[in-house]
Every structure is written in structure tokens, then in C-alpha cells.
Symmetry: C2
Subunit: 206 residues, 2 copies
DNA sequence: CATTAATATAGTACGCGTTCTATATTAATG
DNA sequence: CATTAATATAGAACGCGTACTATATTAATG
């Protein structure tokens, strides 16, 4: 078990530092010039390293883009929190959060594309990414809003997940299938909320 | 108003023929080797024309990919119809259709990517595409299933749109955000259906 | 200091979508 | 036939993500 000769592997902190340096620059480019401006070659140039060096720290572009999620989610969360400040009634709070969530993604198609449409869905081998605690917290915020409205604890997770995926679906449809005459976003969102707010004990049966 | 000299513009039928020839070849490649295999250069080679000629008939790659939607939607629709054959009860038919719809997109991530994730959401200028009648029919199928279950005609469109976008959202979340411990697809789908099946006269209020 | 292993770099390469320019082909008019 | 306008082609170019190879550079060991 003697230590081998040669240069030792980078320290954990060094790795993290370099990664965050690259991610931070990617964020700066994205914020300033949008999705298409973020390229590996340019990123390397601005970070001050060779293009191939980035591949020593990230698996690929997707791996870098995921670090931008955190920022986008935080931005969205801020918008929701601002709207919730002056609202006390639980149901109205959930309604406002839901409407704001959907509006955010509809109003920011580029952010929507970044988070939900820039993944290579086909390849399942590169899914080693673990959602960071900060991003998960935003999901949990909805869980808490739902929990206050629902009395039945057992259904909170299923209800929240359905709500979240439903909201995202509304945003996706409005963003991608533009020529279909979709019902107004607010109306669909309200309708979706119905399945959460109206307590249901049994699965739908004929 | 005398006719100008020179070669006349292609006839409508010629244009349609060439377009469908290209689209058909794109479909063949997609079916045989998947999404990534469909490239402009290869498509041109197999069609037997120069790469640039394609741009005379289509605005770009997106414009071609949309022609593949028709085929994918038809495939999905077939699967649903097959499942519905032996079911009579309206609610059960709607349930089966819903479950099959979601399963289809979860089981075929490449098709999902093609239809819902390969659009350039950011640029709104290229949305001249008009959904063809055949694809719209599949949306209408859900509308009819919903209509039979709901007595109230006025809510059918809003309910159907919400259901469709919700189903797509479930598929999107399961496909893209893989490390989040989503509730079982069937459970979320059932829960989503609740908002449609359970008749609601007023929007949710506290 | 010499060795050794981890890391970074430079350069090349492939195919991609897309744009541009210049040239050829085609099918009508006068 | 000459003219003319619509169309097709060839070829180069740009930047892209990514892979490969070969060559430094670095920081530890013996």
C-alpha cells in the first residue's frame, strides 16, 4: 500500500474549484448572450485553457449546462417567492405559485430549453448527474405548499409530482407546439390544480 | 400582365413531390438508424441531390423533421386504438388511452425527442408550420374520449388540452429529470385524469 | 537527480447545420 | 435561336461537439 510515484491526483478542492470556474464562465456567457453563445471552444478560450482540458473536468457540454440549471431555478424561485410574500391563504398561495411557475417557463423559452430540452434523452448512460440540494429545495417548496392544502399526508408526493410534471407539460406544449390553439395557460393551470386541491380518496373508476 | 420570360416556377405538384421524396427518405433513415443518423448531408446523398438543393425545398432541418411527426403520431395512435378495441366503458377507455399515451412516450424516448425536444424554441420566426390534419386528428381523438365522459360540453376543450399537456409533461419529466425519484408514471397519470373526470363547476377558490 | 504518473496542451480530424458565391442547367418567352 | 428567369449544383467556408495522438508540464517518489 505504499504510495506510488508520480504526480498525485488533484485534490478534491482543486477539482471543485476548476469545475466551478468553468461553470461560472459558462453562466456568464449564457446570461449575456444566451444559449447558442455557450460553446466549448469559446468557453475554453475565455477560461484560458485548451478546449480539450475542459473534457478532463466535464464529461461533455451537457455536463456543463446542468450547472446552469441551479441559477435558472433560483431565478424562478425568487419570482415565486416575491409573489407569495403578501398572500396568506394556503390555497391562494398554491395557486399563485403554480401560475407563476408556468408563466416563468412560458416567458423564458431559452431557460426552458436549457433545462428541459437540451438533454440527450436517448443516451441513458450519462445520467450520473445528481440534482443538487438547492435545486431539489425548489421542488420541495411545492411539496410544502401542497401539504398545507391537503390534509391527507399520504398523497402529498404523488400530488406534487403530478402537479410539477403537469405544469412543465403546459409550458412545453405552449413552447413547442405553437400552431395548435391551446387553451389559455392560466385556465389549463387552474384546471390542473383541481386534481390536487380536490381531495380524492380512490383512483378514478367507472 | 404578360407572362415574363424564363423558366416558370415549379408546379405545386412538383414541389410537393420533391418535398415528400425528401421527407420519405428522412423517415427511412430515422426508422432504420434513429434520430442522430438523420443529417442533411447524408439525406442529400441518399436522395441523390446536392446538400444545398434541400434548402431550396425546406427551410432547414427542423422543417424536415416535422414531417416525421406524422409517422410517429400514427404509430402511437395505432397502439392506443389496439388497446381500446375490447373496452366499452367510456371512463375505462379514457383511462386506457391516457395510460397508453404516456407509456408510449416513456418507452420511446427517441420519438419523444423528435417531436417535443428537437424544436428551436428560442426562434419564433420559423413557426410557419401548420399541423397537418392527420396529426390534429389524434388530438381530436382525446377530445372525443373526454367528451363522452364529461356531460358538460363547455369544458371539453380546456379539459382535453390540460390532459394532453399534462400527459406530455409526465413523459418529459420521466425522460429528462432522471435522478429525481418521480412517482410511478401510472399513478401520476391516474391522478392527472382525476381533474378531468371529476366534474368541477367552479375554478378552485379558497 | 532520475523516475514516474497525473495532468495539460497542441494539433489534427470527422461529421454536423448552415451560409455564401459562382457556375451550370432547364424551360419558358419573344 | 437568343434571351431570360427559375432552379440545381459544386465547392468553399464558418463554427460547432467531440475524439484521437503526441508532446509538454507538473509534483510526487526512491
Amino acid at each position: 500500500m505504499a504510495k506510488t510515484a508520480g504526480r498525485p491526483p488533484r485534490s478534491e478542492s482543486d477539482i471543485a474549484e476548476y469545475r466551478s470556474k468553468i461553470a461560472k464562465q459558462a453562466l456568464a456567457i449564457y446570461r449575456a448572450e444566451g444559449f447558442d453563445a455557450v460553446s466549448m471552444r469559446r468557453l475554453a478560450k475565455e477560461v484560458g485553457c485548451a478546449p480539450m482540458t475542459i473534457y478532463a473536468h466535464f464529461e461533455g457540454k451537457q455536463d456543463i449546462l446542468r450547472y446552469l440549471w441551479t441559477d435558472v431555478f433560483a431565478d424562478m424561485s425568487n419570482e415565486i417567492q416575491g409573489k407569495l410574500e403578501r398572500i396568506d391563504a394556503p390555497v391562494e398561495r398554491l395557486q399563485m405559485a403554480t401560475q407563476t411557475f408556468v408563466s416563468y417557463w412560458v416567458d423564458h423559452p431559452d431557460h426552458f430549453r436549457l433545462v428541459f430540452m437540451s438533454n440527450d434523452v436517448t443516451r441513458s448512460d450519462v445520467s450520473t448527474f445528481v440534482m443538487d440540494e438547492e435545486t431539489l429545495a425548489h421542488f420541495r417548496m411545492f411539496s410544502e405548499l401542497v401539504q398545507v392544502v391537503l390534509q391527507d399526508d399520504s398523497n402529498v408526493k404523488a400530488s406534487t409530482d403530478t402537479l410539477i410534471s403537469g405544469m412543465i407539460g403546459i409550458a412545453l406544449c405552449l413552447n413547442t407546439i405553437r400552431d395548435y390553439p391551446w387553451t389559455d395557460a392560466k385556465m389549463m393551470t387552474d384546471r390542473l390544480l383541481t386534481s390536487i386541491i380536490a381531495p380524492v380518496d380512490t383512483a378514478p373508476r367507472s
